[in-house]
Amino acid sequence: MLSNRSFALRMVLWSLLRRRSRLLVALTGVTIGATVLLGLVTLCYDIPKQLSREFRSYGANMVFVKDQVGGRLTHGDLESVRETLPADRLVGLTPFRYEPVHNNMLPYTAVGTYFADVRLTSPFWRVTGEFPSEPGQILLGAEVAEATKLQAGQRISIEGRNTNQDRYSKDFTITGTVSTGGVEDAFIYLSLTDMEEMTREPGHIDLVEASLTSGGTPLGDLADLVRRNVPDIEPRLVTRVTRSEDTVLTKLTWLVYLVTVVVLTLTMICVTTTMMTVVMERRKEIGLKKALGAENKKVAREFLAEGLMLGVLGGLIGSLTGLLFARLVSYSVFGRGLNPEFHLVPLTVLVSALVTVVASLWPVKKAMEVEPALVLKGE
């Protein structure tokens, strides 16, 4: 025995399934809305994070030095800093050690560092040739290379004295030159391990550069955190980078938000008009049902169920395409995939259903206000 409820359900289902072209039109509308909704909201979540990563190409935004003048940090300090800073925001952490050295009786500054880390914290370095990858290799600043007339492949002899005034001297192979238009051009770079071996004085670090993405705890608070957790260390914000990043990133984020709001509003209105057109076409049917003695409530309930189904289905399909949309943008712009925000899917479905239902109930209400006789006679 068929119950009234399942008959109503059957009516709604047939209305959707047997009017395929209309269903397609309505579903397309809802799906577009849901796609834009989820796609843009996901991007809104994602773009500020991604952009913040892009801004890291300006290099370090926090540096650490010993808090007393002339003091030096240790490898232990470096590790404590690494442990204290949140791993998901740390783009790179690079130690630097500066030593005055000589080549051909001329003074230079040699810098010991880890090149893998430098690539992360200073992506703006332009290296002609290659970064050193093995012990005994060295990278010259562009100005040093110019002054010494040396180039990649040639060897250079470095000599100096350590703090105990013991002489040291070592030959290196040049792998390339670095140019940045800044002080880096005047330095000689070698791996920190090589430098410790050469000077026979391991363990010193003069300065540590950190590149941290924004979002979450402010950088100033992170600096305080390090100051508390690591003894005798002085964290400093590179204000030039942090302050500019704050202003520019805020504006770009706002741009994305505003564009999203505008696009979303307009799209939702579009979905509404489409739904309204599709439902308006059925004024006759509404008139007929009323002539047969249907209560307004019952007719409205049927359309509500129909809208709900359309909204949910369109919302689900749209969620899928929306995630693809967001992924596509993220991949082609930032070259990175993004974490699909799955918790946004129910929200998208809910909003789609809501918009669809509201959009279809309004014309139903309008149609019901008209005398069924008028509707049935045809306009």
Binding site: F55, P100, S179, G182, K251, F334
Partner: protein, 433 residues
């Protein structure tokens, strides 16, 4: 007759056509706003990125760069001796030429620097002379204000900003001020390298977050006097709006001579950082212009990413609004199945019905599109004003794009529905089967 039917349909089916006009209007306003923002976002972001400071360093050919990011131990290796050769300096009275290169309007700001080590209470302190906000009258008749104040936007000042007309007013770095107990308004006396003393007054204490915090910034003439290098500067920092680098620009930066004539023209007439550098070198003999890659490279990356992002967003939104419009048109035509069936039953050909329906929709769409365009302009300005605080210059190319889009979309959107309906048997449609 056609016109009468068209007019009749337009006037009597006001509601339906209003709906089409409305949706098309929405689509167009979206397109206009997004395209407007898209074409202008590059300039806007570029302007914003200027807050990172200079992206070009102009130095005399002979010298090497002595600027410092993180100087480690004070005094060490820093003799503070200025070169005796005039070729190691740039002439101050030639600097106006920087504003006369091909890309002059892309030079946002520039400021010269001359740093001299001065004695302050027995300590050696770097004193840099510069232009704070210098007014220049160019031979071209243009008036230009340029200097350091605008370029170092991240500096936090306590007190009054630097003034080129105040010969003894200086800005003191926060760390130096703390070490020496200086306050805004304090007087201090410094000795030049050869013992010449000057009595100065602190206009402001600044915080730059860098090594500058341990130094003094003064009007250029004061530094020149202390250093006894009248009319000379050591280097000039230039902040220019640039186009992100591409392959051509990278090749040109390596060696401009390697380009073909055509490539060279393209390169020279594009605001690449390397071509601007090249043009400054052309106009100021005896200098070397080095891009500050930390700024220049990052600018390029961020600029191109932002532009790509907005372009993609625009394309996708246009696609969506196109789909939505054609969807609505389909719905509209379907709704009119009875009317179309009737026309067919009366003997109208498929072509004449299509023409009638298309004309109606296009006229409604055009009306909506016009309003939508104006709304879109408003939206673009709203976005521009609220994000960047300046209006968006909507390029005129947006109009044909928007019009073309609406025409194509409404036309293409109508076709499938029309085709289905025209394929139907008129009696079937009329009998509502």
């Amino acid at each position: 007759m056609f016109l009468k039917m068209l007019l009749g349909a337009l006037i009597r089916q006001k509601k339906k056509h209003l709906m089409i006009a409305f949706t098309v209007g929405l689509g167009v306003s979206l397109a206009t706003a997004m395209l407007g923002v898209m074409f202008d976002v590059g300039d806007k972001v570029n302007q914003e990125l200027k807050s990172y400071g200079a992206n070009l360093n102009v130095i005399p050919k002979g010298s090497s760069m002595m600027g410092d990011l993180y100087r480690l131990s004070e005094g060490e290796g820093e003799g503070g001796e200025l070169s005796e050769l005039e070729s190691d300096f740039i002439r101050e009275d030639e600097l106006y030429k920087i504003k006369m290169i091909f890309w002059a309007y892309n030079i946002v700001d520039y400021a010269p620097f001359l740093t001299v080590q001065v004695g302050l209470n027995g300590q050696k302190v770097p004193l840099s002379g510069t232009w704070f906000n210098k007014h220049l009258s160019l031979p071209t008749g243009d008036e230009v204000d340029t200097g350091m104040t605008a370029m170092k936007s991240w500096w936090v000042l306590e007190g009054r900003p630097g003034d080129d007309a105040d010969p003894t007013g200086v800005l003191v770095g926060r760390e130096l001020a703390r070490a020496q107990g200086l306050k805004v308004g304090s007087n201090l006396e410094v000795q030049g390298p050869d013992g010449k003393a000057e009595s100065l007054k602190v206009r402001a204490i600044f915080e730059s977050g860098g090594e500058d915090d341990r130094g003094i910034f003064a009007p250029l003439a004061l530094a020149q006097g202390l250093a006894q290098r009248p009319g000379l500067v050591q280097r000039v920092e230039v902040s220019a709006l640039t186009t992100p680098e591409n392959d051509l620009a990278r090749r040109a930066a390596q060696n401009p001579g390697s380009l073909t004539r055509l490539e060279w023209d393209t390169w020279y007439c594009t605001a690449y950082i390397s071509s601007i550098a090249y043009q400054i070198e052309e106009i100021l003999p005896g200098v070397r212009v080095k891009p500050i890659l930390r700024v220049a490279q990052s600018e390029g990356a961020i600029l191109s990413k932002t532009q790509l992002m907005i372009i993609l967003l625009t394309i996708l939104t246009l696609l969506c609004s196109a789909l939505a419009i054609s969807n609505l048109v389909t719905a509209n035509i379907m709704e009119r199945s009875v009317e179309i069936g009737l026309l067919k039953a009366l003997g109208a050909t498929g072509l004449s019905i299509s023409l009638l329906v298309l004309c109606e929709i296009l006229i409604a769409g055009f009306g909506g599109g016009l309003v939508g365009y104006l709304v879109g302009l408003g939206l673009a300005q709203f976005i521009g004003l609220s994000v960047f605080g300046s209006t968006v210059a909507v390029k005129s190319v947006v109009i044909p794009i928007a019009v073309l889009m609406v025409l194509t979309v409404t036309f293409l959107g109508s076709l499938p529905a029309l085709k289905t309906l025209l394929g139907l048997n008129p009696t079937e449609v009329l009998h509502g089967r």
